[in-house]
Amino acid sequence: MSTLTSKIQVVFEEPACGKNLSKSEKERKKGCTKQLAPGAAAGGCAFDGAKIALQPITDVAHLVHGPIACEGNSWDNRHALSSGSATYRTGFTTDINELDVVYGGEKRLYKAVKEIIEKYNPPAVFVYQTCVTALIGDDIEAVCKAAAKKFGKPVIPVNSPGFAGVKNLGNKLGGEALLDYVIGTQEPEYTTPYDINIIGEYNLSGELWQVKPLLDAMGVRVLACLSGDAKYREVAYSHRARAAMMVCSKAMINIARKMEERYQIPYFEGSFYGIGDMSDSLREIARLLVMRGAPDDILARTEKLIAAEEARAWASIEPYKARLKGKKVLLITGGVKSWSVVAALQEAGMEIVGTSVKKSTKEDKARIKEIMGDEAHMLDDMRPREMYQMLKDARADIMLSGGRSQFVALKAKMPWLDINQERHHAYAGYAGMVKLIEEIDKTISNPVWEQVRSKAPWE
């Protein structure tokens, strides 16, 4: 456990994290994990976070070392898509029993790795630590090391047991496993001046594929995506990229920063959500590549692409503008950065009557304030009952949120759209924003609302 504790300290002291820098020394030591309130907490554990971050690597076996709760209740419940292997969707777990708890589960773990390599022959096995096995002192690092040596294959320990903290911490600990064991262990066949990494993009519902055609058109090659639709070997040689984009909040900032430190890969933080943000991100990619020595004609090419695609997106949104003008949106997000979506919705003429900033950093909040003007609209921690009342009183026309709160909206008989992890639609890039507007319109204008709100004949 001492290695884990020191790992967590390292992650908490992330110097590139703006939120962290604004804290006092003492606050920082405490880390980003507030002590959760028993009986009033929601959200995944650190194991969940690590799995979210790494499971999108499609060709490896993800083996969960622990009792059935961790994998049995959760496997294959996300929509990270693959263009090739489906191994990542297979649920592997040691499913430890009472005897393992008493005598230790290391032997079972070793045997499990062996079975998986024999049966499925993946390029690598990722082994996830969980609460019970951490508590009884199973040393997954040692088992992985022995197994890797014996079977001649990378066996990667992911030391992020649930009780170490929240999902966000797990994202980072997952990243640490890649930094410690995977990145820099292989070499690409060839490199180009246009090779980039995309960090923190999980290809949920195929969102990476909404962006990739744009990069292709610019002549940019995604050397590795961490970790959406990634193959093991791509992650292993990602240290040869010329530049990197870090997507989505601070979830994997440790990877971006350490790769800059170790391999001199400059990165920027950008977003694929929203038309303006998408364009900014493409420009920044081009700029960074030129800075690293790529021929500068890519800049003009990028501008042309942006002009054409922005025009196309606006033309597609135009017909919705009249219908959506003045519609009030309540935006409760977790993973997706609030401000980028806020800008996008405003682009379509909608009014944001509230947005959650529970997981946003100070800069995020400043940015939202800049865009929305009124701080009163930022909701720190809205209780479901308040959301319900807000919708019931028709202070909002639609709620965009994660699956957890969908029933708050539906039971208030108000339109709702899923914009979190489990969603089925892809909302990235220009195409994605058009899709989001389309979906909002489709939902708001559905005739079902009028029917469910009508009174029964006896009322």
Partner: protein, 464 residues
């Protein structure tokens, strides 16, 4: 008579099983104005919540004591205390039901003792009923957690001696977790048709039947009330549905001397005849016309369906009680159960009509399913079904790729009829069309022929 085997693999691949605390939490959800709590780290609750939400497409109240490494090692008293006070303050439930998890069990937290202390320290908490159950993740499965939770309710909530005399028209129902909210609704209707009033414990048909309510509630809305649970000791009889509920019925009998009957299943003709007989006996009322009619409809359906189900090789992956029910019903229509995989031990497994029952996972099921005609398991069976090109009939939990999972009815004469139609229709939708290759001669015949031909040539040469 089946031989029961346990998979000897070190790694479970594509789990069939879900954890005990989740089963217990599901039982908690069948209590009215209840807040279910998992005593463990928050991730367990989060996963359980997502799974139940995906299955029922309903809001699920489920809380956590949010244990971390330090609090686990120091013991969970403080977190339990905070959780209870917080929940009482924020959600004002009638009942807070707590199940332990692998983490807190490994540490050996004495939840019962903790609750005692909390009650003493905070007299104001007396207005909230507290129930706890021990459900380590590394033992048993979903169905065991459910049964333990119901037994805990019986121990904690049933009033003894009964507040008043026995009510001859009141009966208790202890349903297994394989009965859906829709099934419970159907069962209640059947029982009431005999002039009896059932108290169902727990009653997920009140809370998870997917209805619209006018208010928002952070706790369950609907389900067994505490008053109903108290009153169970005054009932004339208890019906336990599924072998998993036997210990609960026994506990109830011990506590209140209400006699019980275990009905192992309610799908199929004979089991429903048994139910009718039992209800007739308890109520003294003859079978209502409605069910006589439904029985004859079922007979007709069985005749229609046997053409398509008869002779089919079916592989089932389900928890013991559901497995037994499905396997029996299919066998009674002439199908053969060529593979049976389950999650946990049960005295019922030996009577599953298959050669062998394996306590295993969906990888085991997929192997057994090669060349079979139909797979029955939960939604995670889909990839296997696609890989093998064998149709899948979704049963049990989780069903995340179907609407109305909670409203499916497969019990009673009517529910059995609809179930047979559904399975029969799957075979109709995947007919074995004959092709010119269907009756191609086997390799053995062809080689025999080839050898004969060579021999003939050789023989011919010899004559020359």
């Amino acid at each position: 008579m089946a031989i029961v085997k346990t998979s000897s693999k070190a790694a479970a691949v594509n789990p069939l099983k879900m954890s005990q605390p989740l089963g217990a939490s599901y039982a908690f959800l069948g209590m009215n104005h209840c807040m279910p709590v998992m005593h463990g780290s928050q991730g367990c609750t989060s996963f359980g919540l997502v799974l139940l939400v995906r299955h029922f497409r309903e809001a699920i109240p489920l809380q956590t004591t949010a244990m971390n490494e330090t609090t686990t090692i120091l013991g969970g008293y403080e977190n339990l205390e905070k959780a209870i006070l917080n929940i009482r303050e924020r959600a004002k439930p009638d009942l807070i039901a707590i199940c332990s998890t692998g983490l807190t069990e490994t540490k050996g937290d004495d939840v019962k003792g903790h609750l005692e202390l909390i009650r003493q320290k905070h007299p104001e908490v007396r207005d909230t009923a507290l129930v706890c159950v021990s459900t380590p993740d590394f033992v048993g499965a979903f169905q065991d957690g459910w049964a333990k939770a119901v037994t805990a309710f019986v121990d904690a909530l049933i009033e003894t001696p009964p507040g008043h005399d026995r009510i001859q028209t009141q009966i208790n129902v202890l349903p297994g977790c394989h009965l859906t909210p829709g099934d419970l609704e159907e069962l209640r209707e059947i029982i009431m048709a005999f002039g009896l009033t059932p108290i169902i414990l727990p009653d997920v048909s009140g809370s998870l039947d997917g209805h619209m309510s006018d208010a928002f509630s952070p706790t369950t809305l609907g389900g067994t009330t505490l008053a109903q649970a108290h009153a169970m000791s005054a009932s004339a009889h208890t019906l336990a549905i599924g072998e998993q509920m036997r210990p609960c019925a026994e506990a109830l009998e011990k506590k209140s001397s209400v006699p019980f009957t275990v009905l192992p299943r309610l799908t199929g003709l004979a089991p429903n005849d048994a139910l009718m007989t039992e209800l007739m006996r308890i109520s003294g009322v003859t079978v209502p016309e409605k069910y006589r009619r439904q029985r004859s409809q079922l007979l007709d359906a069985m005749l229609d369906a046997h053409f398509f189900i008869g002779g089919k090789r079916i592989v089932i992956g389900a928890e013991p009680d559901l497995l037994f029910s499905l396997a029996m019903t299919m066998t009674e229509l002439g199908a053969k159960i060529t593979g049976a995989v389950t999650t946990t031990q049960s005295p019922l497994l030996a009577s599953v009509p298959a050669e062998e029952v394996l306590i295993g996972d969906l990888e085991d099921l997929e192997k057994l399913a090669e060349g079979c005609d139909l797979i029955m398991t939960h939604s995670h069976g889909r990839p296997a079904s696609e890989r093998l090109g064998v149709p899948l009939h979704r049963v049990g939990m989780p069903l995340f790729d179907r609407l109305g999972a909670g409203n499916r009815v497969t019990i009673g004469y009517r529910g059995t009829r609809d179930f047979l139609f559904e399975v029969g229709n799957l075979f109709l939708a995947h007919p074995h069309e004959n092709t010119p290759q269907t009756w191609a001669l086997p390799a053995s015949t062809l080689t025999a022929l080839a050898t004969a031909a060579t021999a003939a040539i050789h023989a011919g040469n010899g004559h020359d």
